[in-house]
Symmetry: C2
Subunit: 478 residues, 2 copies
């Protein structure tokens, strides 16, 4: 076996008792021909490896460059330097792989996030990105643990789908037909019956409808999979390919749903705080450094960890959409005409409105419920007032909408009526309607965009920096 | 809050002390106008609800049909009937949703798996499929738990990819160009530079290459995501869309890799055995019933649970490809010309060969290593003999190849040379080659087809019955 190493994360938590250890990792820095800062990805903390002066010749020492990979066997001793409790006195240093300092794309200096995005294949080797992706891992694991512990079953809903009925956004076509010369029907239109799946198919925009099929039999399910939007949005908040979590629960109403979402969000943030303290501390400092360039008024009142602490310790605010509009209309901000977009009952709130509510008015996450039915999807449960539906959005400081959900319309007649009004083809969704025809139950669910959540927890401003290989308009590199 | 119910799984483990409880679920059967078998998806065991004779009128009782949904409040009492320890004496029965017995597609009788595949939106409501999907959930959770506990980071590799270099199989095109009339270049060919991503893109066949980028910085990663093959294979073993798990570890050789795979497989099976005893017992019985129709010689020697027990308790056999071929050549099976396909060094072993090794010769899972380089991918590490590569396949009884993996070629020159020989375009994989140029390390990984694993654990013969909504040629329903 090649791998008899100890991970640096484990080593740094070990008491030095003169024991011999073997570590492997990549060089972050090499100072004074003596001190190697070695990183193996298990933690953002480096291990200091001390090389005895004169033990190796210059030709060898010159090969210890940034990102070169080493295998080091040595003695674990207490460290005299500051910043670490233990270090390794090298007995044997083997260079596993060289890294030519002249051509290695990442120099040991600060690179811009934009630059690193072009080097996404190597950015895992930086402190910032290794921290982000370790936190991302923890959040993902916490998602599974939360739902598993609650008895929700993980359901893999389909990625390729013939359904385009939900109307959640522009879709990508999936096909094996030759673009150059596709088979055509008599009328000249493309004959998708000859396509791989015997019909036109797309990449899913949501697993919700299929999730409801699972929930109305297994009771409680959740999805965690990739979803796709072919929108030409070149912003810091949009990806063409992103991961979404969609729990769906039978015997749930809107209040159950909101309680679940709040508990869920607080749980996964707490999990990251408990398991990624070092990473979050690094990211907190990174954010403080970044904000130094900003005017005082634009800096955050709370640092990253304080912000997370605040969210896990305080109950989310709950207001109806109607109350939210009232708050906006009565605000000085509105009276001084500082909103760019109009405010009145019926609008689809803009980002500036949501941010005002969350960041200025409540200063905490807000669950907004009971939206006008005109601005929400066909499957949301119609309220008694005839005007609103049992929808809920959760708005978070600095990030905006992080959760969208609803109690679903479980009444067959009302659902069919609404589908007609909104021109949703009932014949294509026969299977969805069957759940309302045979033993329908009150049920509810929500969707959480995973990358938005990772942004919130890591403080990264651009969504492209929290997914390993972002897919955006004109970009599918790596 | 609507949902103040107790889950049936929890209730069945509760001591009856005359306490009042509320349960909700779907009717499985209703006998003698008195005994409801209620299921809420939390377990395959039904709760017996006893309705007092004469308490409800006939019109009401007629509505208690298979798959109708009920809310029942009543007293938890010890059960006098066999098969359950407790039951609920109903005080109040509310019908949440009717299910017309005439039109409900699943009658309370045995349906064929083929029939249920057409009703995949409702098959979650059967004992077989709810058991299968609860086991699937447990296996998925065990995957995450295993790797998380070992310090592997979950990495979301891209689904849409411009890379088609791996050559793992036929791919699906992803596009937003109009099929009817795509933009064309001067030479008449389709101009993919105008496509959404600015180039031709496909659905991924594997996250391995990107996974290696993560592993050579974070140390150890795993993927768990959907992968796609546009192969026109209408078999019980193939899906066009399936989920794959691909761990990748730096500082690993083939032996480390094999040890990881064995430990991993045993862990997730053991997890399901510990957490899904009732489901597996049901599936064991189902399989015994199914096999009753077969001649004695075709029946399994071990039942489902014995088979799983055997796999978790016995070390996997390890042999080289060369040894495997020798065993085949020396077998009576070969000498009696019972193999359909030829056996000689260099062949890509057929299913019949693999099954012979696993089911007849060793009677346990076998790890076959060091395959001829000609039949394996470009990225596998070349052995000193010049003929073989450090590949490994794991073959399982009844299922065939369940894992494929290798130590990766970490030596830049050897990798580039092999890519040339195999006509893999190095310029498209510049980012992959960079990991070998800058601090390359020995590393290894494998892929496990999740559905094959679910089949193995549940004993389901057709892969379409272990994924919620199978995608196969000419089929993308739901």
């Amino acid at each position: 076996m090649f791998n008899k190493r100890i991970k640096i994360k484990e080593l740094l938590a070990t008491a030095a008792q003169g024991q011999q250890v073997t570590v492997m990792g990549w060089v972050r820095t090499f100072r004074n021909n003596q001190f190697v800062a070695l990183n193996d990805g298990s933690t953002n903390n480096n291990l200091q490896v001390v090389i005895e002066l004169g033990k190796y010749d210059d030709a060898f020492l010159k090969r210890i460059t940034t990102s070169a990979s080493l295998k080091v066997t040595g003695i674990l001793v207490e460290s005299l330097g500051k910043g670490q409790s233990v270090e390794v006195k090298a007995e044997e240093v083997e260079i596993l792989g060289d890294s030519d300092a002249e051509t290695y794309p990442l120099q040991p200096k600060k690179h811009s996030l934009e630059f690193l995005r072009e080097k996404a294949h190597l950015r895992f080797r930086t402190n910032t990105f290794s921290s982000v992706f370790r936190v991302r891992h923890s959040l993902a694991f916490a998602v599974h643990k939360f739902f598993n512990d609650k008895g929700f079953f993980y359901l893999h809903t389909p990625i390729v789908t013939a359904s385009d009925a939900e109307g959640a956004g522009e879709m990508f076509r999936v096909s094996t037909l030759p673009f150059d010369n596709p088979p055509r029907k008599e009328d000249g239109s493309v004959d998708f019956s000859e396509d791989f799946f015997g019909r036109a198919t797309n990449l899913t925009v949501s697993g919700q409808l299929e999730g409801e099929l699972g929930a109305t039999a297994l009771g409680q399910i959740y999805t965690f999979g990739p979803t796709f939007r072919a929108e030409n949005s070149n912003t810091a908040r949009h990806l063409a390919e992103f991961w979404m979590i969609e729990p769906e629960a039978a015997f749930y109403d809107l209040e159950d749903n909101a309680a679940l979402a709040e508990e869920f969000i607080q749980y996964i943030i707490r999990y990251a705080m408990e398991n990624n303290g070092d990473d979050l501390e690094f990211l907190r400092q990174r954010l403080l450094d970044e904000e130094k360039g900003k005017p005082q008024t634009e800096r955050s009142e709370l640092d990253l960890i304080q912000k997370l602490q605040f969210v896990v310790e305080n109950k989310f605010e709950r207001i109806t959409y109607t109350e939210a509009i009232d708050i906006l209309l009565q605000s000085n901000h509105y009276k001084k005409k500082k909103f760019q977009y109009d405010v009145k009952w019926g609008i689809d709130m803009q980002s500036e409105h949501e941010r005002y509510l969350v960041e200025k008015h409540f200063k905490k996450p807000v669950i907004v419920t009971d939206y006008p039915k005109e601005i929400k999807a066909f499957y949301m449960r119609q309220n008694e007032d005839g005007k609103t539906v049992a929808a809920m959005d959760i708005l978070a400081p600095g990030i905006g909408e992080i959760v969208g959900g609803s109690q679903r319309e479980e009444r067959y007649d009302k659902l069919v009526e609404r589908m007609k009004e909104m021109h949703v083809p009932a014949e294509e969704l026969w299977w969805y309607l069957d759940t309302r025809r045979f033993g329908t139950v009150p049920h509810a669910g929500f969707g959480l965009g995973f990358e938005r959540m990772v942004q919130f927890v890591t403080g990264m401003g651009n969504i492209r920096d929290v997914i390993p290989f972002p897919r955006t308009p004109k970009n599918a590199e790596f």
